[in-house]
Symmetry: C2
């Protein structure tokens, strides 16, 4: 895992930034991929885009100040935002968890205010890039990231490069259809992976079970407040052998195994990386059955063991590290917005 | 569709060859991508690999003779074989429909006998390459081919290049899981696309319906011999409004729409091409509902119309044309087997 203030941390530096629904994380990252300093601010999305953009700038300035570096030593900033985004123009469209954002020209705005080139990407794509360059996926050529949270997001690395897709809509692994005509998904369709194996689906099934009178430690562990059902609580119930949680997580593992097989049967990558709170809380206990199911469903069994199915390593820092990688790679090529 | 003896047909020439379970098709193809001459021989796979390889050589020689060209003007040969194959070594592993083939060193053998560089690929990959370079996919950057036959095969073009995958196992779209725990598939698992929307699945459902006493024109159209259920017969029954065929094809269309959405939500290509006998027999009548369902399930609706979902154009010639394209591209790079 990335640590602060490593021994070697030389410039030029890049800033990585992750715009989440609840917090903004900015970090100054050295040419070795080390986090030199970080700064965190609340997003407060209800205050609207202008206020949020102001706090993003402030987070970047705070990180640079903490790092005790000069802005002239910052080669650029890579920003992950909830999709859909357009990496070419730096525009954020209508992210579901950033109400009021409507084609916000985020990249150009930040570039103008901060005076450095800014490169925008979908947040999950950026996390995948971070894991590929500096985390669990180092050295792989083709890799797919799967991040299990409220939804299930993904990222695609092919030939060592992040692939955003023709419409910048690639790697939406949560909306691959795995159970045709299955449960209704947040997207309004049915049977997407997200409708059967996201935290939303898991929480829904636990709540339905409890509402129907099934006994579970979850009631006690959350003090009856099921909206406090964190990944940590799920892990605790699982470790104590809670039957409801065991059943529902086992089902999710099975579906995540089928998803992995669908991805592998289409792309045949070298590695599939799983991240997100639940993966962090249960790690190998969650992954082992996913791996078994997935490999059963690989159509080509030859070399099935060579396709590694592993846990992400960078946790909450995947996005900012990916941002720094993006800024470093792209600034050598064609920045979205030239430094003014 | 590709035609023989076009106006312009200059060398150097490439040979494209398609090794099927029932026939071997070889063609001499000009530098303009025109078929100058073709030759066909039966595969007779029961006679074993040696006899089949002998007939492949003969087919190539026949095509060269018919084309009235010299072997010195042939830059190489691209061969499509049923997978799994290893394009690097030219080895064919254990194709289900070529009994007795067990790690046959097909590429090197043909190269040695014919004295030209030989490039081997999975047959469906090669058909996709043909459609991309010379058929419906011309000019696209990222494209996915879906070929609906006994099974459902696919091919993947990214950045204009054929992608075989880390284990040469990419684009097995027939084994993406679309209905978890659904019908048993030919691969032994459940709920793969192939188990609900291949010709095998369609034929199975029609036979089950008829066996259960449902009325259908199929009995009359096949003279009661349901093993004569061709794509042409299905098309005829569909055009006459046969309720059993209509219901079963409608279901297949729905699943193929979901498959297309799964592919698009993962890769976000510019185009998805559908080929195979059923697509050729029904064309737009088959494709239109697939397109509608697919687009409904795209997670990113912006630009949904820009993702083209179209019929393949090259029919039975996709493979040999793809073979010529492969030979032409690779001979400029690194041939599997150098000319001896």
């Amino acid at each position: 895992v990335a640590k602060k203030k490593q021994e070697r941390a030389s410039g030029p530096y890049a800033i990585g930034m992750d715009l989440g629904g609840t917090k903004i994380l900015a970090a100054v990252i050295s040419s070795e991929g080390r986090i030199v300093a970080e700064a965190k601010l609340k997003t407060k999305p209800d205050e609207g885009p202008e206020a949020v953009i102001g706090r993003m700038e402030q987070a970047a300035r705070n990180a640079v100040q903490k790092a005790e570096i000069e802005w002239k030593d910052v080669l650029g900033m890579g920003v992950g935002a909830p999709g859909p985004v357009d990496p070419e123009s730096g525009i954020v469209y209508h992210p579901p968890n950033l109400a009021g954002w409507n084609e916000v020209s985020l990249g150009p705005r930040l570039a103008k205010e901060l005076g450095v080139p800014v490169f925008l990407e979908n947040d999950v794509n950026l996390g995948t890039l971070g894991e590929h360059a500096l985390g669990a996926g180092q050295g792989t050529r083709d890799m797919v990231g799967v991040f299990v949270g409220t939804g299930v997001g993904g990222g695609l690395i092919l030939d060592g490069e992040l692939r955003s897709g023709y419409r910048y809509a690639a790697a939406e692994v949560g909306h691959m259809i795995i159970l045709a005509d299955g449960p209704v998904c947040g997207c309004g369709k049915r049977g997407c992976l997200e409708s059967v194996a996201s935290r939303t689906a898991i929480d829904r099934d636990i709540q339905l079970g409890i509402a129907a009178g099934r006994e579970s430690l979850i009631t006690e562990l959350t003090g009856g407040r099921l909206n406090r059902l964190t990944s940590g609580v799920l892990a605790k119930a699982w470790h104590q052998g809670d039957p409801l949680v065991t059943e529902i997580l086992t089902k999710a593992q099975w579906y995540l195994g089928l998803l992995t097989a669908s991805i592998v049967n289409l792309i045949d990558p070298e590695m599939v990386i799983f991240g997100g709170g639940l993966v962090e809380a249960l790690s190998e206990e969650l992954l082992a059955p996913i791996r078994v199911t997935a490999r059963q469903y690989f159509i080509q069994q030859a070399g099935a063991d060579q396709v590694r199915i592993v846990a992400a390593r960078l946790g909450d820092y995947a996005g900012v590290l990916g941002g720094a990688v993006l800024a470093r790679r792209r600034s050598g090529e064609k920045p979205i917005v030239a430094k003014e």
